[in-house]
């Protein structure tokens, strides 16, 4: 009996939270207009959300690409198909690993930072202070960060894939002796712009939207204490990871399911 009560209560709490989050999203979206009027707010956030994530994306992308090169070569060489290494590396990066891993890193690097920042601003009364100064914190603080996250994510994912392909090439042709021309030309011949690249970009756009939304909402909804902010930050990373991987499955099934 106690179990059912608990189940009901937590389901209800979950739906209430989803409702708050949706309402919050509507407010963010309606605040976007005022961000476009003031591009300087956006630029500052693009710097802290996007540019500062640059290093982690480049380094991780390079290593992921290099590992793909090694593992791919091992399998492909057994079938005498080393020349298609470029295709394998590029396809796995552009379709899957680029958007997904970049989004996971983004949630860990930028999402957690956003949650902690907003949560602390709430805890130190900066948000209600702004409200009392007749400045809408959603428009001034939240919407620029949302737009910055939404815009940076596809760029970071593209960067991740590009660096990864170079990493695969370094290992493949530099270390393992795959023909350089074959690596690039096979890739160019096989990968389709619309089917592979655009679908990858669509994925990263979706992930950017969801991750920024989760991170900002968790911060804004955090209990304004040290413990509350720390919990909210954890929830951001966990919920973002779940959403990214779950949505990736759905999107992959929709995009590539027929083949």
């Amino acid at each position: 009996m106690e179990f059912f009560r608990y189940l009901g209560a937590s389901t209800r709490a979950g739906f209430t939270k989803l409702g708050r989050a949706s309402y919050f999203l509507i407010e963010i979206l309606s605040g976007l207009g005022s961000v476009i009027v003031r591009p300087r707010l956006l630029l500052k956030q693009l710097h802290s959300v996007g540019v500062l994530s640059f290093l982690i994306i480049v380094i991780s992308g390079l290593f992921v690409g290099m590992v793909l090169g090694l593992q791919g070569f091992y399998i492909l060489s057994r079938f005498g198909a080393e020349e298609t290494l470029g295709v394998m590396v590029a396809a796995s990066l552009v379709r899957e690993l680029g958007p997904v891993v970049a989004a996971l890193l983004f949630a860990g690097r930028a999402g957690s930072a956003l949650t902690a920042e907003i949560g602390l601003m709430k805890a130190t009364e900066q948000l209600s202070g702004m409200e009392m100064m007749a400045i809408d914190p959603i428009k001034r603080i939240i919407s620029p960060r949302f737009l910055a996250g939404f815009l940076s994510m596809p760029l970071l994912a593209a960067l991740f894939s590009a660096v990864g392909i170079i990493g695969g090439q370094l290992v493949g042709s530099g270390l393992l002796g795959v023909d350089d021309g074959a690596y690039w030309s096979q890739m160019q011949a096989t990968l389709d712009f619309k089917h592979d690249i655009i679908n990858g970009v669509v994925k990263s756009v979706v992930f950017g939207f969801v991750t920024s939304w989760i991170a900002l909402f968790e911060g804004y909804d955090a209990i304004p204490t040290a413990e509350g902010v720390s919990r909210a930050t954890t929830r951001t990373v966990v919920n973002s990871a779940f959403s990214i991987l779950g949505l990736d499955f759905i999107l992959t099934a929709l995009m590539f399911g027929e083949h």
Partner: protein, 293 residues
């Protein structure tokens, strides 16, 4: 009640206000008047919802019953942009200062000016320096909020609150946690700002001494009701036991030292269920241990 006649020149008036948090009634049908150009203090022990009252006046919270009129307008019936227009004329000093931590002192004071006016930067500079001079912190303009002491942070927040030349300022516990020197500075500052700028000030505080030194009128709140009101002299001589306990800081009186609990002896003699089951559990464990050893 003689002091609620509408002929009084009040800027803020609270009528029959009721507000609850969960089960607990924070305010139970209270009415207060805040006169123009005066310093009115709301006093009472911690947890009586003094800050909540400021948030109700500022329109951040909604009452269950009753209304709050500011400058003749019902705060809770205003549309969002009307409320924001009204708030531009209300300054609020938060207990923590609520300075924006990613900006210098100068930019913090300039913040409302930049957001709400289209003044040229040279004009904003003069205004910011004037406001900082008024609180004595013109020299600290390039510091970041984390480099300020608590008292300085509150003074910067005060400079920011008066940046838009408001008609009133709400002070939330301005004296809490201050050393005697910055406390003295704040007391003087609040008094002098009120007279020189012609402000209406509402102070929420439990610092009896400092507040009665500058307030023109005092309300004492307890358990969601007004238990005493009047000028500081009247309050000092109040016959209410309650007010006397508060003003003199006696540990016991109408407000008890102990949080409500059941009889002490009962509590000691009868251990509660969880304790009991924990003991049983440890018994089982030791039995198991015996069996396996």
């Amino acid at each position: 009640m003689d002091n609620f006649d509408s002929t009084k020149n009040s800027l803020v008036s609270v009528h029959n206000l009721t507000f609850s948090r969960g089960e607990k009634k924070i305010f139970d049908d209270i009415s207060l008047e805040f006169e123009r150009g005066k310093i009115t203090a709301i006093m009472g022990p911690s947890g009586t919802g003094k800050t909540t009252l400021l948030k109700l006046i500022g329109g951040q919270l909604f009452p269950e019953h009753g209304n709050v009129m500011v400058n003749g307008r019902n705060v809770h019936h205003l549309k969002r942009d009307e409320l924001y227009t009204l708030r531009k004329r209300m300054g609020m000093l938060f207990q923590s200062g609520a300075l924006l931590t990613d900006m210098t002192v100068y930019n913090n004071v300039a913040f409302p000016l930049r957001e709400h006016t289209k003044l040229p930067e040279s004009m904003i500079r003069s205004l910011v320096l004037m406001k900082l001079e008024a609180v004595g912190l013109r020299g600290a303009r390039d510091l970041m909020p984390n480099e300020l002491s608590g008292g300085m942070a509150r003074r910067v927040a005060l400079a920011r609150a008066i940046a838009l030349d408001p008609m009133m300022i709400l002070y939330d516990e301005p004296f809490t946690g201050q050393d005697p020197i910055s406390m003295g500075a704040l007391v003087l500052l609040i008094k002098s700002l009120n007279s020189t700028l012609g402000l209406t000030s509402i102070i929420v505080s439990h610092d009896v001494h400092e507040t009665s030194a500058i307030a023109d009128y005092i309300y004492v709140l307890a358990d969601g009701k007004i238990v005493g009101q009047g000028t500081p002299q009247e309050i000092q001589q109040s016959s209410s036991e309650w007010v006397q306990q508060f003003m003199k800081g006696a540990a016991d009186g109408p407000v008890h030292f102990h949080y409500p609990a059941k009889e002490y002896m009962d509590d000691l003699l009868h251990s509660e269920k969880p304790l009991f089951s924990r003991i049983r559990l440890s018994d089982e464990r030791s039995e198991k241990r015996k069996r396996y050893s």
